[in-house]
Structure formats: structure tokens, C-alpha cells
């Protein structure tokens, strides 16, 4: 990889009380790449994403974003606005779908909000929901709105936490296409957490395995799936790992 990494994590650990939930000896995320975070449910993928988003502070270790250390999990407001995250269980403020999709634009005082909001809803195939109150949406629709409210911001760093877990296959394909197009167009850095091997293979240029709170292995996608270095990675991708 050329240049310097966008994120650099060194001996990072996170625990809640006495319970350790994540340990990362070393991880670099490069600008413009799509990094897949693969691992079973509860492995620590969401925790890693929250650390990258600056929403939580590591218990120990160092996280650097754009060559600046993130102190106590606190990113500067300007750095925070370069990063946006789609959460696994979306929480949408009450109001219409459009109100929600315009939220990030509104707090950034973007004057023209309706057109980009409707454009991203159209791209995700849910423009007919624009004026619908969010409390009337299905779980899958809520996930799409949560994705739309982040994509409309065209963030430099896009953190995705199982964004398609509750979607039907047609929608999954559409979301993957949309993210891929925006990623290419705006050269976004994407960290995409999924427990789906096939999805990781389809969307990511590099894949990392998070297993029982540890980052086990990071490798380019082909290498990760064809010649994994760690036996646990091999077990996981060959489906021998029962969890």
C-alpha cells in the first residue's frame, strides 16, 4: 500500500468493566480501500467499528486517524464529520424518512437538502417512502433509511455494521451496488462488518477476521479465502467453525 494509512491501531484493547471484548495487536486501514470485517455475531466487530468512529475510547492502546492520535476516543468535531457509521440496530428520530435522511445535512447547515435526500432514496429504491413516518417502517426499511442518512453525507470514511443483515437478496444486491458506486466515485474508505463470507468476498479488497474478541488475520481478499495463514481463518471460511 502506498502513502500512510488513514487509521493505525496499535495494541488496542477494549473492555467493559472486567470483561475484555476486543484486542487488536495491529491494524492499518488504507485510504480508499474497502476492508471487510468478518466474524461471527458477538466477535467484536461492532466494538471495533465504534472505536474507529470515535464513539468509544479504547481501554488501552493507540488509535491514530489521519496521522493524529485519537485522544480518549475523542475525535475533533471536524474529524468526526469525515466519518459516518451505519449501526446494526438503527435508531431513527421520529419524523418522516426524508427528515431522517436530511438530518446530517441539516446539522452541517447544507442549504439544499431535499434533492440529495431524494436522490439517495431513489438509488436505494425507497423514494416512495420519503414522506412516511419512520415508526411505520419495517425493520428492513429502517435499515435502508439508516444507510441512506449516512450515504447522503458522502463521508470520507464509511463504517458499515451489518447493513444488509435484515434485507432480502434483491435489496442486498442494490445496497452493495450503491455503496460500491459511491465508494468508487468519492474514493471513500469503507470498513464493512459482516458475518456473511460471500458478502465479504464480493465487496472487500482486504478482509479481516475478528474472532472471540481478537483480530486474527488481515489479508487481501483472494489470499484470505484461498491461502489463509491462521488455522482459525481456515476453519471459519470452510464452515468448520461451529459458533
Amino acid at each position: 500500500m502506498d502513502g500512510s494509512p488513514l487509521y493505525r491501531l496499535e495494541t488496542v484493547a477494549k473492555s467493559y468493566g472486567a470483561a475484555p471484548v476486543l484486542e487488536v495487536a495491529e491494524l492499518a486501514v488504507w485510504p480508499g480501500e474497502v476492508l471487510g470485517l468478518l466474524g461471527p455475531n458477538g466477535a467484536g466487530k461492532s466494538t471495533l467499528l465504534r472505536l474507529l468512529a470515535g464513539l468509544e475510547a479504547p481501554t488501552r492502546g493507540r488509535i491514530c486517524f489521519d496521522n493524529a492520535e485519537v485522544c480518549a476516543g475523542r475525535l475533533s468535531p471536524s474529524a468526526r464529520r469525515r466519518i459516518a457509521m451505519v449501526h446494526q440496530r438503527p435508531c431513527l428520530p421520529s419524523g418522516s424518512v426524508r427528515f431522517n435522511v436530511e438530518f446530517g445535512l441539516r446539522i452541517r447547515r447544507v442549504p439544499e437538502r431535499a434533492a440529495p435526500a431524494l436522490a439517495i432514496l431513489r438509488e436505494l429504491g425507497i423514494e416512495d417512502l420519503a414522506e412516511q413516518p419512520v415508526h411505520t417502517l419495517s425493520g428492513g426499511q429502517m435499515h435502508l433509511v439508516a444507510l441512506a442518512r449516512v450515504l447522503v453525507l458522502r463521508p470520507e470514511v464509511l463504517l458499515l455494521d451489518e447493513p444488509t443483515a435484515s434485507l432480502d437478496p434483491g435489496r442486498v444486491a442494490r445496497v452493495e451496488e450503491t455503496v460500491a458506486r459511491l465508494q468508487r466515485q468519492y474514493r471513500m474508505t469503507v470498513v464493512w462488518a459482516t458475518h456473511n463470507l460471500f458478502q465479504a468476498r464480493r465487496v472487500a479488497q482486504r478482509v479481516a477476521l475478528v474472532w472471540e474478541g481478537r483480530l486474527i488475520e488481515v489479508a487481501p481478499t483472494e489470499q484470505f479465502f484461498h491461502s489463509p495463514a491462521d488455522p482459525r481463518t481456515r476453519d471459519f471460511i470452510e464452515g468448520r467453525m461451529v459458533y
Binding site: 468512529a53 464513539l55 468535531p77 468526526r80 464529520r81 466519518i83 459516518a84 457509521m85 449501526h87 440496530r89 438503527p90 435508531c91 428520530p93 421520529s94 438530518f103 446530517g104 446539522i107 452541517r108 439508516a146 442518512r149 449516512v150 453525507l153 463504517l159
Partner: protein, 216 residues
Amino acid sequence: MFDAEVWSIVLLSLKVSASAVLVSSVVGVPLGALAGLAQYPGKRVVAAVLQTGMALPPVVVGLVLYLLLSRSGPLGGLGWLFTPQAMVLAQTVLALPFVVGITMISVQSVPAELALQLASLGATPWQCRWAVLREARQGVLLAVAAALGRSLSEVGAVLIVGGNIRGYTRVMTTAIVLETSRGEFGMALGLGGVLLALALAINLAMVRLHGGRLLA
């Protein structure tokens, strides 16, 4: 039966209670939001104290304020005893725990995850707090309605600090007490009816203000 004096009593009731609700809301909603959103030791104790505050006996509040506002009391210099200001103060003291307590519970009932997710969209801490308060608005409206109900219907404290002076500090509840003691039950019942109708009208207006969602 409803002469000019009665209307002036109704008007004073409304003025005193509206002022008390306004003051307790302006002070209480931010305090309640802060109490509910901030992380601090003893948060449960604060909630328990506020709930006790909702059960404050009005006569006790009246008595304490009487002692504070009396000429020899620490606030005697204000000259507020037996004035509408003293009544507003008494009702504010009684309404404040309702506003703070119910607002606190309302903001606490908004999932903590909401603020975190909005922060991950670039919202500042203040924008997150505002969004949480907005999410809790039905509860905040309920807090204001409860404060209004408490203020309008309260008699013990305003009787003690207001003195039920005809044409000056006589409000509906104190007038009802007086008319009852004089055996003028028709008048007392009439005023009671007006009080109830007012409370209903105000609450219906608040429900309407919220697009009827308080009933939903």
C-alpha cells in the same frame, strides 16, 4: 351568578397558574433534561427526591414560604406576602418537581443509542441533547400539563401565602373554600365547574397542539 368579581377571580387564577407553569417550565425542562442525560453518582437518589417533591403537601409549602416571606423572615424584604407574586412562587415550588421529574424520566426513556448514532452522523453533543429532548417531547408536554393541573387545583399554599383577599389574591380554589364555609354551595359548585372546564379545555388544547398524538 357570574358577575365581574367572579370573572376577575377566574382571570387571576389563570394568571397565577400560567405564570407558575411558565417559570417552572423555563427552569424545569432544562434541569430535568440535564438530570436525565448527565451521568453522575446519586442519579437514583435525585429521581427519588424529585418523586418525593411531587408529593409535597401544599400546606407545608405554604407554611414554609409564609415563614420565609413574613416580615421577619429572610425574604421579608421582598414584601411579597399576601400578594399574587407569593402565590406564583408557591405554585412554582409545587409545580417544579413535576416538570423536572417527568422531563427527567422522559429523556431517560429515549434509548441512549440514539444520541450515539446521531453523534456518528456528525452531531455535536448539544445537537444530540436537543434531539433527545425532541424525542421526549410528549413526556415534556405531559410534564407541563401535570404542572398546570397541580397549579390550577392547588389551594393550601395559595390560601396561606395569598391570604384570599377579595379583589386581590382570591382565586378559584380559595373562593370555593370560602363559599363552602359560608354555605354558598351553588356558588362553590359553579366555580368548581369552571375550574374543571378550564382544566379540560387547556389539556385538550395541548393535545391538539401535539397533533393528537398524546392520545395515541
